[in-house]
Amino acid sequence: MLEVNAINVKYGKSIVLQDVSLSIQQGEIVTILGPNGSGKTTLVRSIVGLTPITSGEVNFFGQKLNHLKSHQIVAKGIVVVPEGRGIFPKLSVEDNLRTGYIFLENDRDVMLEKIQDAYTRFPILGQRRNQLAGTLSGGEQTMLAVSRAMMRKPKLLLMDEPSLGLSPKLVQQTFNIIQELHQAGTSILLIEQNAVKALAICDRGYILQKGKVVLNGPKQLLISDERVHKAYFAME
């Protein structure tokens, strides 16, 4: 469904992404692993049009996304959970959830229903619906970010380091949610540093290093690869 063809991205004179290609099929969880600064976040940003692409193409269901504005791209059904969760700290929890829906569709009843769904899934959010989102704890913020992303049934969910800065318990919870979403039929592109977790749930993966895809393949291949092992599991 999503195809990224040999994109290049430059900031000023420095090259951030170099000939990056990847694809996701319907119903897959694909993970992109890479150390800090390897260009993962830039990749997400270029897919949704926040960072201009110097060359190459991004296609979604065969449609070219390159010259569309971000809001037009997400309207096609790509939903993003941005890095650092990206909730609006000075909006209430409920307003945060609204932002997930209202700018794409305009059906009040559906929205209310979806908000209710979110509260059912995470009752804590329901309790804090009128609180400013900035006052939530890290885990609650993740719940909020995920719920916000789910406000509209995404065709493709892009998650940029959802486990960042969370306690192990919360990380586990987050990955459970991801799996749940996947089982509900959502295609997911998961960008992670936490290789163990990500590889545990993904179907396929790409390894990004210094703006280049250095390795890609099904999860078993990645897990058994020496380089991956060395880079991510050096602790053992």
């Binding site: 940003r45 949704v48 049009g49 926040l50 504005k69 971000s70 809001h71 997400v74 309207a75 993003v80 941005p82 990206g86 909730i87 609006f88 700290p89 000075k90 909006l91 307003d95 609204r98 932002t99 997930g100 209202i102 700018f103 794409l104 305009n106 916000r148």
Partner: protein, 306 residues
């Protein structure tokens, strides 16, 4: 006691005008972090747009039978025009300079203010002279135990409150308002949520400038006089109010505007020989705020990000 209430009303009036200006200022800072120093001159543009339109309407003889309809229509027309002007300023001046250092943009807005001001003076017949602003509101008022409440004052205060309430409604309850609030907090994430950021910024400019236009009209109505160079003072005061309230914070701007109005009126009334130092008081208040509470009344203390 009587004089106190009289001063209170004046303070409310001055506050109303400052608030209307400050709200626009603060909204610009909120969405694109721009202190638009031409904002005060946009107010004066509103003033100077209404006058010829009013004369024209009078000449055409629309005023006598339909004043109650024509005047609001004219006001709305002017507000629309200044609103569009705001959109134009964004498109032509602000947007191309968004990539440049903020100082450049700041100076550009200062220069734009000067251009508006001088253009008004040059284009408007006899523009250097004080102009008679037409009486839009009925004169007279309610007498309350020796205290006169002019209809015009009441209308201005009422209109301001109405504007603030409806603006608050727009910002808090509507989709556009949600978009504005979201963009002011995180423009990247806003885009990802499907917000058309350009449209949102333009609507902020339209809203802010429309309010400025209204402020200009109300200013003219209340004082009965219009002069081309009132804008620089109005702009600086509006900005000061926005800073006192906490730049970027909508409710802060209201509090800041009210506070500044009250400081001005009461300081010059109760401090001996205060009137000629009126501006000194308000600026000292602003400086004090900036030193002791730089984030304003409502702004939170921000830890410097490293």
């Amino acid at each position: 006691m009587n004089t106190f209430f009289q001063l209170l009303i004046s303070a409310l009036l001055v506050s109303s005008l400052y608030t209307l200006v400050a709200v626009g200022f603060t909204m610009y800072v909120g969405v694109i972090n721009l202190a638009n120093f031409s904002h005060g001159d946009t107010c004066v543009m509103g003033t100077f747009l209404l006058m010829p339109l009013f004369l024209f309407a009078t000449k055409m003889g629309w005023m006598t039978p339909l004043a109650g309809l024509v005047i609001p229509a004219l006001i709305i027309l002017v507000i629309l025009v200044t609103g569009l002007w705001g959109a134009g300023i964004y498109k032509i001046l602000v947007k191309p300079l968004l990539v440049a250092p903020r100082l450049i943009l700041l100076l550009a807005s200062v220069a734009a203010g000067q251009v508006i001001r001088e253009a008004i003076r040059v284009i408007y017949p006899n523009g250097s002279n004080p102009q008679v602003f037409p009486k839009l509101l009925p004169s007279g008022g309610i007498e309350l135990s020796g205290l006169t409440l002019g209809y015009d004052s009441l209308t201005i205060i009422f209109l301001t409150i109405a504007c603030i309430i409806s603006l608050n409604f727009i910002i808090q309850r509507t989709k556009m308002g949600l978009a504005m609030r979201a963009v002011s907090q995180n423009s990247d994430v806003s885009q990802i949520m499907g917000i058309n950021i350009e449209k949102t910024i333009i609507s902020v400019f339209i809203l802010g400038s429309a309010l400025a236009g209204l402020a200009g009209i109300l200013n003219g109505t209340y004082y009965g006089i219009a002069k081309f160079n009132l804008g620089s003072n109005l702009g600086i005061k509006g900005f000061s109010a926005a800073v006192i309230g906490g730049l970027g914070d909508f409710q802060g701007a209201i509090i800041g505007g009210v506070l500044l109005g009250f400081i001005e009126v009461f300081a010059s009334a109760y401090i001996p020989n205060g009137s000629q130092y009126q501006d000194v008081f308000s600026f000292l208040a602003v400086i004090a705020f900036l030193i002791f509470r730089p984030s304003g009344i409502l702004g939170e203390k921000i830890f410097e990000k490293v």
